[in-house]
Each structure stands twice: as C-alpha cells, then as structure tokens.
C-alpha cells in the first residue's frame, strides 16, 4: 500500500511542478491523473483506495476551512449589503445553463439543482491567484470581482445544505427543517464571530504551532462531523469554523494548514478522477462543451456588468469578465456529493470535463484580456478618426 500511495503522491508532485512551470492551476492535472488511474483507467489502483477515499473527505473539509479563514465575518456581512444585487444576477445567469441542461435531459429536479451549482460557482482560489499574479488588485473593478467571489462562497454555505438534503431524498418538511437548521447555524456563527470572536480566539490561540494546528484541525473535524449528523453537510461546518476564526489567528492557522490542505485537496481531486470512468467521457463531451461555452458567456457577462457598475471602462470590464471564468474546486465538490448519492452517473464526467476546460481556459483568457482591450480601443479610435478626422487630430494634439 505504501508503494502505491507513494507513487501516486510523487506523481502528483511532478504534475504540480508542471503546473507551477506553466503557471496554471494544478486542479485539471490532478483530475486527469485520477482519470488515468482509477476504474477503467490505464492503471487501476487497489490497496490505497481506502486511504484516498478518507483523505478526499478530509480534503473537502480543509478546502472549505481555508476558504472560511480567508474571510472575516464583517467582510461577509459588508459584502452581503453592498453586492447582493450583482451576486443574485451572478447566481441567476450562471446557474441557469446547468439547471436548463439537466431539465432538458430529463434528469429531474435534484440533478438540476446539482448541475446548476456546478455551472455556477467560480473558483475563488484560481481567480484570486490570477488577479494577484497579473497585478489586477489595484484596478477599479477588483473590489467588485472579489465581492462576487465572496458572495458565491457564502451562497455555497446555504446551497450545500439544501443540496445535501435533496440528495438524501428527504421530504419537503424535513428539507425545510434542514434549511432552517442550516440558516440558524450560519446566523449564530456569524453573530458569534462578529460579537464574541475574541472568546473563540482565546480558546484556540496558542503560541505553539503544534498546539494551534491540532486545536484548529480537531475543532474543524468535530464541527464538520456534528454538521454531517445534522444533515447540514460537513463542508459547510468547516467553512463556518474558518469564518469564526479571524485576525492574526486566522492568518497563522491558514499558513499552518496550507501544506495539509494542499495534500488532501490533491487527494480529493484524484479521488474524484478515480471514480470517473474515462470511458464515460466521450458521450458527454458535447454537453460539457456546450455548458462550457455557456459558462464562459454567462460569467463574462456577469463580470462585464459588475465592472460597468463599478464605473470601469472597456479594459476593466474585459478584465473582470475574464477573471471570473475559471471553475475548480467547488464544482467538483458539488459533483462529488451528487455522484456519491447516485443521482445521475453522468454528472461526474460532465463536471470533470467542464472543470478541466474552464480551469485551463479561464486563466488563459485572463492573460488575453488586456491585449484584447488595447486592440478594441485602438480600433475604436481609428474608426473615430476615419469618421471625423478633424476632431481626432485636435484631441491628438491636446495630448
């Protein structure tokens, strides 16, 4: 078992090195690795399956925890107030293609909710990284784009419990009860974080890295476990723990957890790939491609509108439009939940193909945004000059 596991992790390390070399997200590479190994792949894994499946579960929890650690409760509440409208537009535009596709394929409402979630969420990890790498944080549209990411992540905290309830096939009443429990928990956590954050921090804080790591990890797994018992989705529990911790403590915890998260998140993506049979990919390629095109269009429209509302010109709008395209971890988390519950087996390969396409296409498009904007502006100027040479010349001279 050790040999197999070692080979897998070493392989992932080499893939991660490739992704660093070409500065793309490693997520698509991990997915491909998973596809290559697992059921129907070239090299079926046997003995390490158990570890990988437990590791994948921990991976989801750590992904959500570190996401929660990125945000403070006041940031979340502030975002809800300022960008609720843009956020709802984002939700409406981007969930629609998934929901429609699932309904047209006759997969039923539960699969529609799952596929809507898969097409909706932008990968806040990839997008934030693209924006930092390209030096876009100073631009006018940056706060709007980041607020959209926060809004989406917060939406996930409400969406995941609903999805979990639907997947469990609970009755309407029980479903509503779950939703009520989930919203109440989120409300309480936000309140605790806003008002009594320092008490939680005192409980967890420690000058020793080791103590801090174990305390945060233990607390998170415990809360995630309890949340799962309450049918609220363990991932959301972890996200809320992340939000409740803030300030320097959150920063320290994030740095400590980063290596663990990288390891287990990689395991999670491989696990998802393992459980997707590559033979199932070709039949869904058409749907996935259509969804990807729709996903690029609707996200770009969202970004364009959000940047326009922030007062940006063409350049800023194109940047915002391209920055939001990448999909990644959450889409796979949602698909993973749906596939495990056995809703619609084709959801897995569709999500894999969708994320593979957009996680690669997103950052590439983003690199092309500014050159494209320059081209458009130059063309526009030339057209103006041609139609009215007199004014164009004077403006040129004024400069």
């Amino acid at each position: 078992m050790l040999v197999e596991l070692g080979a897998v992790i070493l392989g992932l390390g080499l893939l991660a090195a490739v992704s660093v070399r070409f500065s793309i997200s490693p997520i698509p590479l991990y997915l491909i690795a998973g596809l290559a190994f697992g059921s129907g792949g070239i090299l079926p894994l046997g003995t390490s399956e158990r570890f990988i499946s437990v590791g994948a579960e921990i991976g989801v929890i750590l992904l959500l925890l570190s996401l929660g650690l990125e945000y403070t409760a006041s940031e979340l509440v502030g975002t809800l107030r300022s960008s609720a409208l843009a956020g709802l537009l984002d939700l409406g535009l981007n969930a629609a293609p998934g929901v429609l596709a699932a309904l047209l394929l006759g997969w039923g409402p539960t699969a529609a909710v799952a596929l809507g979630g898969i097409t909706y969420v932008t990968s806040s990890g990839i997008t934030a990284k693209v924006m930092v790498d390209l030096g876009w944080l100073g631009n006018r549209e940056a706060p709007s784009v980041l607020s959209l990411l926060v809004f989406e992540d917060l939406t996930m905290a409400i969406y995941l419990p609903i999805l979990t309830a639907l997947l469990a096939g609970v009755s309407l009443v029980l479903g509503l009860a779950t939703l009520a429990i989930a919203s109440a928990t989120i409300g309480i956590i936000l309140l605790v974080a806003l008002r009594f954050g320092h008490i939680v921090e005192r409980l967890v804080a420690s000058p020793s890295d080791e103590v801090l790591l174990l305390k945060v990890l233990g607390l998170t797994l415990l809360v995630a476990g309890v949340a799962q018992q309450l049918q609220v989705s363990g991932a959301v529990g972890a996200f809320l723990v992340g939000i409740a911790l803030s300030g320097p403590l959150a920063h320290a915890a994030r740095e400590l957890l980063a290596p663990l998260r990288d390891l287990f998140a990689a395991v999670f993506f491989v696990f998802f790939g393992l459980h997707t049979d590559p033979a199932e990919l070709p039949p869904v390629v058409g749907i996935a491609a259509l969804l990807a095109v729709a996903g690029i269009t609707t996200k770009a429209a969202t970004g364009w509108i959000a940047a326009a509302r922030a007062g940006s010109g063409t350049t800023g709008r194109l940047r915002a439009a391209s920055a939001l395209i990448p999909r990644g971890e959450f889409n796979i988390v949602i698909a993973g939940l749906a596939v495990t519950a056995g809703v619609q087996p084709q959801l897995g390969p569709i999500a894999a193909a969708y994320v593979l396409t957009l996680a690669v296409a997103g950052p590439l498009t983003a690199r092309g945004a500014e050159p494209l904007a320059r081209l458009i502006i130059r063309r526009r100027r030339r057209r103006m000059e041609r139609s009215d040479p007199g004014t164009a010349q004077t403006t040129e001279r004024q400069k």
Binding site: E70, Y71, E75, L76, G78, T79, S124, A128, V132, G135, W136, L137, G138, N139, R140, E141, A142, P143, L146, S147, L149, V150, H251, S312, G313, T314, T315, G316, K399
Partner: protein
Amino acid sequence: MDIERTALPGIGLRHVFTTERQRQIGVITHSTGRQDLVIYDEDDPDSAELIVLTPAEAGVLAELLGTARIVERLAELHRQVEGLMSVQVTITASCQYAGRSLAETRARSRTGASIVAVVRNRDVIVSPRPDFVFRPGDVVVVVGTEEGASAVAAILSDG
C-alpha cells in the same frame, strides 16, 4: 486630502488618494503583510502600474518618505488627540541613562508611555530598538498620556 479605503475581501485593504497634480496613488495591504504600490495611469484610470513590495521594502519606502515629517506629525498628533501628548526630553551628560540602552529605562513598563523617536545630530531615529544606546545630546520623543509622558521625562532627566 481624501483617502479612499476599499476592502478587498479575502486579500486585504486598498487605500487610494489623488495628488494635487491629479495623479492617483494607491497602496494595497495584503493580510499576509505584503504591500503593493499602485500608480494609476494619468489618462486611463483603468490601467495602473503595480509594484510588489515585501514588508521590509515597504518599511524602507515608508521611512524614506516619512522620517523628515515624523516629529512634525507627532506635535500635530498631540494637539489633535485629546489625552495623548508628546514630550521631547534632551539627554544631558549627567543623566544616568546616557550611555545605557533603551531597554534599561523600562520606560514603557514603568509608565505606559512609549519612546517613539530619537533625534540625534539632525537625524531622526524612528522606533528605536530596545538595544538602542542613548548619548548625551539626544532628543528623545515620548508619546503617551500626560501623566505617562511626564513620568518618562522625569526618569530620563534625573532618573
């Protein structure tokens, strides 16, 4: 001068202001401690030059821009903030702390006031470190409550 403060959720904070000559400058403070200096294009507010600074580099830049003004600003500060005042004490040759380190005065733990700067031969040493050694002729700038600041002044002038 208006400084526009914008939260960048998940990243940090951005401060932007417009100079007298209508140029916009911004600073992005990441929660990791990294700071970016942003200089906006004169004609197109959608393009900007972004310079990434490590905490050490940001400190150097701040020091280069700020040293000459710090004493001036402190004087202003104590006029603005009620209850907070700054006192300047000259270290004389007879002072018992001349030739001894800042840590030995235990000024902060004894009085609650802080020694924020020392002026030596027209140079300003901002935030002197605990191992900083006083010399006769140094002017020590103390900030604290009225009580605390005068207590430090008393310690430094006659021990």
